[in-house]
């Protein structure tokens, strides 16, 4: 069976600055894969390149078909949802509206049912369903962003540093939920993270990015004890 995402020789950057020097990775159907790296390693750039937010060169295949050059809003219809860094909740819209927005590309009649289901998974969202998204805490907004992305019923979820700005307890809860969602729905996930520990607990495999180059890859067990992971963060 083909991978749901296969990336090879990916080169991307901003204007004249090349950030990614040609990296490769893959995500199998239903798998959780993490990309680890310190600040500035190019993690966010990677997701943006896959998502079509940046111009990129190389190979980016989604379920066997190339998606290089496609616009972000086109990819949603194809089955990829991207939760950007900083969550990207639309602060002026209510929680309800944000979730409904997540289903923008869907035309079926189960949208309301899905919204109700996500309120069960994230009860705090249900409590605040008519509130403006911007009035919620960081953790709640992160859950909203994830639920919203999942409203599109994607086959692949891209998450950019979901732990950023969140308290440890909240982050732990978040990753537990993510793990549960992956097990229950079979949605593949590509998570880009600085918080190696929690991310590796729910991931099957991972990669380590350092200054735009992949320096390590392996199963999450292997990476938990890998030298390069430690070096990428601590510098020695």
């Amino acid at each position: 069976m083909t991978d749901i995402l296969r990336v090879a020789d990916l080169v991307a950057g901003y204007g004249q600055v090349t950030v990614l020097q040609g990296i490769h990775f893959r995500v199998a159907h239903g798998e959780v894969v993490v990309i680890l790296g310190a600040n500035g390693a190019g993690k966010t750039t990677t997701l943006r390149a896959v998502s079509g937010m940046l111009a990129a060169k190389g190979t980016v295949d989604f379920d066997g078909a190339s998606i290089l050059g496609k616009r972000p809003d086109q990819l949603v219809g194809m089955g990829i949802a991207h939760v950007p860094q900083g969550r990207g909740t639309i602060t002026e819209l209510t929680v309800d509206e944000n979730l409904r927005l997540g289903a923008y590309t869907r035309g079926d009649g189960e949208i309301d049912a899905d919204i109700a289901r996500w309120y069960e998974v994230f009860p705090r969202l249900g409590e605040r369903h008519a509130q403006a998204a911007g009035s919620m805490s960081g953790g709640e907004q992160q859950m909203l962003a994830i639920a919203r992305a999942l409203m599109a019923r994607p086959r692949l979820l891209l998450l950019d540093e979901p732990s950023l700005g969140l308290a440890p307890l909240v982050t732990r809860e978040l990753f537990e939920r993510l793990g549960r969602i992956n097990r229950e729905t079979g949605t593949a996930m590509l998570i880009v993270e600085q918080n190696a520990n929690l991310a590796l607990q729910i991931a099957a495999r991972g990669y380590v990015l350092e200054a735009g180059v992949l320096v390590a890859e392996g199963t999450s067990a292997e990476l938990s004890t890998d030298e390069s992971v430690r070096r990428a963060y601590l510098g020695y």
Binding site: Y14, G15, Q16, V17
Partner: protein, 377 residues
């Protein structure tokens, strides 16, 4: 040539003209490092000589047209300083132009001042009004400032009409032999000069325009100039670095208004008349358009832009005269896509493709390249 270092710490002192030239990056011509300064000086000299020939070679109406170009150019220098270099968008400098025009006119016609004094007074009045407008403008950003200045431009002719007993109202005023015999010759050449009126007016306005150009050039290249540009590009960063934001922004408004006022005074010198319909929204738009067409945030842009704006109607075919403003409007719309740096920007782009030059440091603080030249990293 030594670089001047303006370290007096006093922004007012920095405003005084510095006539030493800052370091200009050297050019790479066929592998040899050459200073472009003599070439640029030479070209400037030739252009000035050519300009001075205009009244000798061309007929009266052409000479007057060029004089109008210069008046517009002076005002455009002001808007260029404010909008191009300092990022404060103004669609209302026609009002300051009008203030300069009416001030100088009234002082000459009603109070028999000599024109130089009247022009000076016009400059001062415009400057002060500019400061007054610049103060509230501190709190109004970007597009909102454009709206406010547009409203100002619409308001000015109404103010003129409202005080018709002083300003002559909708019919305007004129200095003629019959009505104001004592000052009638305020803009006539001295009898021993041997010049025709149109020639004399051109030379006077030309000199004033060159002085203004020099002033703006020195201002832009000084420490103050760099502060202005820094403010335009990232206000918060500029403030953090120590730029006295409020002071500079208000001052820039004042100076830009002063330049527009001088332009207006020069127009009075040229035409000897004022009429409120000349100083409305259309004029304000024309000045801004001249800045952008010439090349915002460049030194010679205003001159080039004013030239194009005034000359364009004469170049277009006259069989369908109504088509030309349509074409003009369309070109403006497309200009931002095709040549956002204006004519000067286009020339620079062409030049930098034709001859590579060594990009050394720019200690003199020459204005940064326009967006289409700049590296977007």
């Amino acid at each position: 040539m030594s670089a001047t270092t303006e370290n007096s710490g006093d922004p007012i002192a920095d405003l005084l003209p510095t006539f030493a030239m800052p370091l200009t990056p050297r050019w790479n011509v066929f592998g040899r490092s050459v200073s472009p300064v003599p070439l640029k000086a030479g070209i400037t000299f030739l252009l000035i000589v050519a300009a001075l020939q205009i009244p000798q070679q061309l007929g009266k109406s052409d000479v007057n047209l060029f004089s109008e170009v210069l008046c517009l150019a002076i005002a455009a220098m002001g808007v260029n300083l404010l909008t191009g270099f300092n990022g404060q968008i103004s669609v209302g400098h026609g009002a300051f132009y009008g203030i300069g025009a009416y001030t100088s006119f009234l002082l000459v016609a009603d109070h028999e001042w000599s024109f130089p004094m009247a022009a000076l007074a016009a400059a001062v009045v415009s400057f002060v009004v500019g400061l007054l407008v610049g103060l509230p403008a501190l709190r109004i950003k970007g597009l909102y400032l454009a709206i406010v200045t547009l409203a100002l431009a619409a308001l000015f002719p109404q103010i003129v009409i409202r005080f018709a007993d002083v300003t002559g109202g909708t019919s305007g005023m004129q200095i003629t032999k019959q009505e104001t015999p004592t000052v009638y010759d305020f803009n006539r050449p001295p009898s021993d000069s041997g010049l025709q009126p149109d020639q004399w007016r051109f030379y006077v306005i030309f000199v004033v325009a060159m002085v203004c150009l020099l002033l703006v050039r020195n201002l832009v290249r000084s420490r103050v100039g760099r502060a202005l540009v820094a403010t335009r590009d990232n206000e918060t960063a500029a403030e953090v670095v120590g730029v006295a934001l409020a002071r500079y922004k208000v001052l820039t408004f004042g100076i830009s208004a002063m330049l527009a006022g001088i332009g207006g005074a020069m127009q009075v010198f040229l035409n000897g008349s004022v009429n409120p319909s000349q100083f409305g929204i259309d004029l304000s738009i024309t000045i801004l358009v001249a800045v952008v067409v010439g090349g915002a945030a460049t030194i010679v842009g205003p001159l080039v832009g004013a030239f194009f704006i005034e000359m364009l109607p004469t170049w277009l075919p006259t069989d369908t005269p109504q088509a030309s403003p349509v074409l003009f409007g369309l070109s403006l719309v497309l200009l931002m896509r095709v040549a956002p740096g204006g004519v000067v920007g286009l020339a620079r782009r062409t030049w930098s493709r034709l001859s590579p030059k060594i990009n050394g440091p720019r200690p003199g603080g020459a204005p940064p390249p326009m967006p289409d030249d700049a590296v977007t990293a």
